[in-house]
């Protein structure tokens, strides 16, 4: 990574750290959710953007992570921070297991299978035999964690920093993974499935692992989200959660790490602005933006930024030396 990129990221992180002190509590909560979504989008992007497996059902892993955190905290009294690794582990396994039969499904059919999963999810979560654990239709309420060591910040701010720390960790891990052998294998499989196989890449293993890791990321996001919202209920995990994630990666930019951030900001803040117009407006806007981006800007915001930067640097290089 170039020195300039490192500098840029450092500035962004510094700004991110300063934010909770200059904005309202509610805004801080919204930013926390934006961070949560960015982790989820990173997960989905790994699977769909980098590895070419279309998932319309990532809301399911988000839900599993959320319920894992809620159940551990509510029924077993676990501290909030300990639920994150568990959510990660559970979703890693769940994703890998789902990835195995998914190996037999290509493109459209995988989209269909994951779509089916997402649509039936609320019903599955409401199943009365699971009620003792899941709290049924009412769901589970959890308490907002207090800042540790009596730090002079409020709970919202603490949660923001906690989420930020987890997000930074997840992003660094992802960056490492994607530019290494695994990342190259993922992209090779997406672009030229048969050639990748012929080259000796164990496509089945890579694809299933990618599913697992992608689910893990979204599950971690789900756990963090549950803690931030302090509430899980079946109807909050309907098909539109999965669709919202899809919107996020398309707008943000497929196969791009920064895209996860742009997309997360989009899906978190656009509904806030649009809600004022009408309850239906946010989704209408999502839909129109989806169409617009597919037709006009298929590389998403990240792609547009990349092109703009390239054009600016080219101009700088082409400055005639007088």
């Amino acid at each position: 990574m170039s020195r300039r990129q490192v500098l840029l990221i450092a500035i962004v992180l510094l700004a991110a750290c300063a934010l909770p002190f200059v904005v309202s509590s509610y805004r801080t909560f919204q930013l926390t959710m934006a961070l949560v979504y960015s982790i989820a989008l990173l997960g989905l992007n790994m699977l769909t953007g980098y590895n070419g497996q279309i998932s319309l059902g990532h809301g399911a892993f988000y839900a599993i992570g959320a319920y894992a955190a809620a159940i551990l905290m509510e029924h077993f009294g676990w501290p909030y921070w300990a639920t994150i690794p568990v959510a990660a582990a559970v979703c890693l396994v769940a994703g890998f297991l789902f990835g195995l039969p998914a190996l037999r499904l290509e493109g459209l059919y995988l989209a269909l299978a994951t779509f089916a999963l997402a649509v039936s999810l609320p019903a599955l979560l409401k199943y009365h035999h699971l009620e003792p654990w899941t709290g049924g239709v009412q769901g589970i309420v959890i308490l907002k964690p207090d800042p540790p060591f009596g730090l002079p910040i409020d709970a919202d701010q603490w949660l923001y920093y906690f989420t930020l720390a987890v997000a930074v960790l997840m992003f660094v891990l992802a960056w490492n993974l994607l530019r290494g052998r695994m990342g190259r294998a993922m992209v090779a499989i997406r672009d030229q499935h048969i050639a990748a196989e012929a080259m000796g890449i164990h496509t089945a293993m890579v694809k299933s692992m990618t599913f697992g890791i992608s689910a893990m990321y979204t599950g971690v996001a789900g756990a963090l989200g549950a803690i931030a919202i302090q509430f899980v209920a079946p109807d909050s995990f309907n098909i539109f959660v999965s669709i919202m994630f899809l919107v996020g990666i398309v707008i943000g930019g497929l196969a791009s790490i920064s895209g996860a951030v742009y997309g997360a900001l989009f899906i978190q803040f656009v509904p806030n602005i649009a809600d004022a117009i009408s309850k239906a407006a946010p989704w209408a806007i999502f839909g129109i933006f989806l169409l617009g981006f597919v037709y006009l800007m298929p590389t998403g915001v990240a792609g547009a930024v990349r092109m703009a930067v390239a054009r600016l640097t080219r101009k700088a290089h082409n400055q005639p030396k007088s």
Binding site: G52, S120, A280, W283, G287, P298
Partner: protein, 289 residues
């Protein structure tokens, strides 16, 4: 025994609705090799159109017919304007466009009509007429489904336009060589599929009540039905629809409880896709390396 017969007949009634929607899905799949994720929302939108007409005072059957025409036009317009630009685009782009369509239709409906649940009238009498085994609406829905299927069959088998549609779907290059305007055939196919979907929506609305999200579950059952029958086989879709309807009702009433009925669709979908993707009657696709 009587309870079982009850459930089977009720299952056939909803099965007819699933069969119609599944048929719409298969028609579009045959012509484009694409799965229309927005088929349910298109049907729902048409049903709301019908509701507006009826609410404004129009009698049922004229509103029904006008809605079928409206749905047809909607399908044609959507194909020409929204789908055509991405006809040959990569799968992900197409899926995203379908999802966008789903989302736009759903939210626009909510915007115009609000999310409060509405009742939708049935053209059939309220009292059961076939003894106590099935509601009149159930029997009527089966009847309407059969009429629609018959009309479609006659159209495809015996009219030149139907033949041209089949040809364009099977072999667009050769179709062009005999002068068929393949682009318009595609639009026609979408129009017909949308019209069938509209009929399905109007048949299901009296049962599940009218709300923007009413077709979600129905769409899932229709997917299951289409896959079970073979995603490229119209007759299979119809068979699949009735089968799924009966399974849903019988399993829901006697085996797994009503809550998990939707899980039946999920299991069928994943099961068929993983074990036998070509379903009962579909063609097995062999991909050449």
């Amino acid at each position: 025994m009587e309870a079982l017969l009850h459930q089977v007949l009720a299952g056939l009634a909803t099965g007819g609705i699933y069969a119609s929607l599944a048929l719409a899905l298969v028609m579009i799949y045959q012509a484009t090799h694409l799965v229309n994720f927005a088929q349910g929302e298109m049907a729902m939108f048409a049903t709301y159109f019908a509701w507006s007409l009826i609410n404004a005072g129009m009698p049922y059957w004229p509103a029904f017919l006008l809605t079928v025409v409206f749905a047809f036009v909607l399908g044609v317009v959507i194909e020409r304007v929204i789908i055509r630009p991405v006809e040959n685009a990569p799968v992900l782009a197409v899926v995203v466009v379908f999802i966008a369509l789903l989302v736009i239709l759903n939210s626009v409906t909510g915007w115009i009509f609000s999310y409060t649940i509405k009742t939708f009238p049935s053209p059939f009498p309220a009292e059961p007429i076939f003894g106590n085994y099935i509601t009149s609406h159930g029997g009527g829905a089966i009847g309407v489904t059969l009429v629609v299927l018959l009309l479609l069959y006659l159209f495809f088998r015996f009219t030149p336009l139907g033949l041209a549609l089949r040809a364009a779907a099977q072999n667009p290059d050769s179709a062009r060589l005999v002068g068929i305007r393949v682009g318009w055939m595609l639009a026609l196919g979408w129009g017909l599929a949308a019209a069938i979907g509209g009929v399905a929506g109007m048949m299901v609305a009296p049962i599940v009540f009218l709300d923007p999200n009413m077709m979600g579950g129905v769409l899932l059952y229709a997917f299951a039905a289409a896959l079970v029958g073979g995603i490229d086989n119209p007759a299979g879709a119809v068979f699949g629809g009735f089968l799924v309807g009966v399974l849903e009702n019988v399993l829901g009433a006697f085996v797994i409880g009503n809550e998990l009925k939707l899980a039946v669709a999920l299991v069928l979908i994943i099961g068929v896709l993983v074990v036998k993707p070509s379903g009962f009657f579909g063609k097995v696709l062999v991909t050449r390396v």
